[in-house]
Amino acid sequence: MAVVTEPKVIDPTELSGSGQIPVERVATPKTPEEVAKMVTEALQESKTLLPLGGGRDLFTARKTFDIGISLKKLTNGFRHTPEDLTAIVPAGMLFSEVQAKLREANQWIPLDPTDEGNSTVGGIISANRSGPRRHWHGTARDWVIATTVVNGTGKIVKAGANVVKNVSGYDLNKLYIGARGTLGILLNMSFKLAPIPDKRVTFRACFSTPEEALGMSKQINKAPVEVEALTVVKGRWAAAKAKHWWVLIELMGTEQSVADQSTVLSSILEKSSANRWGKASEDDTQFYWKTAQFGNDEAAPSSTEAAVSIPKSKVEKLVCNLAEEMPGCSLKILPACGSVTLELDESSDRKTFIDQVSGLNGAVEITGSNVSSAEDRWPLTPPSLHLMKQLKKHLDPKGLFAPGTFVGGI
């Protein structure tokens, strides 16, 4: 494999942030053409490939692969067009670096996934990751407008265009987002961008019960305020000694508008059953949102987490059941998105939990060091799995890209 030895083959353990990677060799291509050449050679030699971003969300289903393709050096070609509110971003660029560049023009990709600073844009898009501001801005599927990938035949192919509205050919962007590299290797993506709001203010309110916290969330969602993020947290995603259910609310707008909205929100919270509530200082704001994303410093790292997606009207039912059945369970909820993340401990009755999610027409993804197969990770398979398998077969006919690591063993 000529390209693997040039530019460089590195020891898998050298790849920062990725931990132990089950590959024989890792290659670090610098150009799309090098990636394409590697895929072509892998096809000829019947090798399997594992695309690698920052490694945060890497799942290998305890399988081994011939070659890991680290995209961290695929960083050329960034192009920001502020006057169009669009940007073309190479897959290997660090997400934090991209946001910093865009911020210079007061713009951003409105995604706020948990990121310690080593997540690549390609990795975030491949895993379809988002954060609490999803409440207002949605997910990557609302912001990616074009993609270029190396496909299963080693060709560089594109879909979409650098415009904000487009029905020209199939929207393959939607397929690649969240496909975890199983349909091809992402080379670059174009994004619609959003202006950064003039002002943001965070409020925190603490409630004794999930019913109160989620009831307040519903009330705020119907109030005349523009909420950029609203999350309900308990346990490790709140302060170490917090006994309550925290509702974190971020308002956005102009200075004047946020002041007006703050008055409206204060009036709602004043009349609520909150034990404590208030506008957060700048330090507290940073602490609350950092804790809600990463967990508090004193909590042990969670071994297993389940990310549940259910119809939003069912969130309260699920959360109240969980609070009763697993009273010490840590929870992070985006009520308006139907998203509930919880920590599963060893004593959790996983089958009952999964049945419960299934009964609510939900989807679940379980992550953690003891999750060893795609079936464990995605225990509820979708009714269209046969179509997904069919797609994989057509787009990756030789099964090159991370085989066996996705839903249903795709």
Binding site: G169, K174, P195, G253, A363, P382, L387, L391, H394
Partner: protein, 479 residues
């Protein structure tokens, strides 16, 4: 009455006889959609009432090895809802029920034949609406919107159809029924809903569609800015976007269209200007005044000679009626017109509009503009005489050159109407052979026989069936 084919007899065994149309005269209605330049003959048109009937029709067509496709109201502009290789058109107009509205989950489940505006009319009293609002929303169906990933003026802020569809029940090309997506926003696996929306009816036929409903805004302000040149107006659009302002809608209308509108609709557009911008902002009352001030300043700085706010709901409705029904007004001032759906990056708007004017002058044809300018979706409307063969050829040539220019400027072939049959030959302006092969692989995974809606989107393997340019009357297109 011609003798019925075995296909038609089989279709009549699935549906009541009055829901199978096969008489040549009755089939004429289905020869084209909003693109009247080319026409195609179907062998039969069927009107199912249920998913099960659609599935049986699909199986029947497969048995007869006959092409088939779904059709909504036929308001598209790309020759997408036509039987390009003959066969059967499945007309979805009898599947027009709103099956469920769930305000707790902020969604509605509809059959594909539901008229777009009917859904918002139904939910508005409860403070909700369905965001995609194509100008044809009084006539177009949500099923058609899904096929074409339809947009509309307000999708600038709220997104196009794909941003508002949660799940789909789909009859596959082999007649099997499958559920794509799910009520939770993060359904597991590949995002097949996102792939399906905008696939122009080539991957399956949606028979139930779950869409998001969104809350009506607290306040709305609508403005009319007037300009002495199209270039000034388009510069204003670019400047508004560059300032990081995303209005709810940002539409550009030039003098040719203004005059047509005022002749027939009396919307209140000023006739003595080169172009107007129709600008709408919505949201919290407390945010709108500051935003309005910024927009007003930008417009005036870039040459607006007047900037007025609609002073009442009636005035606002009248302005929007002028915009949304403008295409009908154009039909009254020209014997025929051909509309183009190209898109450019928003900062390139001044260039493409200048190009349009030049090319119109060069060919001696008038071109009106009613652009979804904030999206860069330009919609030039080329006016021609269908009795003049040279003018017909020029109209086609102009549209093609505009598409090529859009691509040269970094844009795309279609903003909201798709490739259809119309832009088959332009597909290569934007995509190379490998890009197309990737998309064809996807089509093969869903539609291996190719019997569902053939000769659309992809030039490779497309045959132009019974296509023929005919003398046409003014088209009924919608932009």
């Amino acid at each position: 009455m011609p003798k019925k084919s075995s296909l038609v007899r089989d279709l009549e065994s699935i549906l009541d006889r009055d829901r199978v149309i096969s008489h040549p005269t009755e089939l004429l209605v289905y020869e084209c959609d909003g693109l009247t330049l080319s026409k195609y003959g179907a062998e039969a048109v069927v009107l199912p009432k249920s998913t099960e009937e659609v599935a049986e029709i699909a199986k029947c067509c497969v048995r007869h090895e006959t092409p088939f496709l779904a059709r909504g109201s036929g308001t598209g502009l790309s020759g997408g809802a036509v039987a390009a290789e003959g066969g059967v058109i499945i007309q979805m107009s009898k599947m027009d029920k709103i099956l469920d509205i769930d305000y707790d989950d902020e969604l509605a489940v509809v059959q594909p034949g539901v008229i777009n505006l009917h859904l918002s009319d139904t939910t508005s009293p409860n403070g909700y609406h369905y965001a995609p609002d194509p100008s044809s929303q009084k006539a177009c169906t949500i099923g058609g919107n899904v096929a074409e990933n339809a947009g509309g003026p307000h999708t600038l802020k709220y997104g196009v159809t794909t941003n508002h569809v949660l799940d789909l029940t789909v009859v596959m090309p082999d007649g099997k029924v499958v559920k794509l997506g799910g009520r939770p926003e993060d359904s597991t696996g590949y995002n097949l809903v996102g792939l399906f929306v905008g696939s122009e009816g080539t991957l399956g036929i949606a028979t139930e569609i779950t869409v998001k409903l969104i809350r009506n805004p607290e306040a709305v302000k609508t403005f009319l800015a007037s300009y002495k040149s199209v270039e000034d107006a388009s510069n204003s659009v670019s400047s508004i976007i560059a300032a990081g302002i995303i209005p709810a809608a940002l539409e550009l209308i030039d003098n040719i269209v203004i005059k047509a509108v005022e002749s027939h609709l009396k919307a209140g557009f000023p006739e003595n200007v080169a172009a107007i911008l129709l600008i709408e902002i919505d949201g919290l009352t407390s945010t709108l005044s500051a935003q309005a001030g910024r927009i007003s300043n930008i417009c005036r700085d870039s040459g607006a000679t007047d900037f007025q706010e609609a002073k009442s709901d009636e005035e606002r409705d009248r302005l929007w009626r002028g915009r949304k029904e403008a295409i009908g007004a154009i039909g009254k001032v020209t014997p025929a017109f051909y509309t183009n759906d190209g898109v450019v990056p928003r900062s390139r708007l001044p260039e493409i509009l200048k190009f349009d004017l030049e090319i119109g002058n060069r060919h001696g044809l008038r071109i009106g503009h009613l652009c979804h300018a904030g999206d860069g979706n330009i919609h030039p409307t080329i006016m021609y005489d269908p009795d003049d063969e040279n003018q017909v050829k020029s109209a086609i040539k102009i549209s093609r050159e505009i598409l090529q220019k859009c691509i040269d400027l970094g844009g795309a072939l279609s903003g909201e109407h798709g490739i259809g049959t119309e832009k088959l030959s332009a597909f290569k302006f934007m995509f190379n052979h490998d890009d197309e092969a990737q998309m064809l692989s996807v089509r093969s995974a869903f539609n291996p026989s190719g019997l569902l809606n053939p000769s659309k989107i992809f030039p490779t393997g497309a045959r132009c069936g019974e296509s023929k340019i005919r003398k046409t009357v003014a088209g009924g297109g919608w932009l």
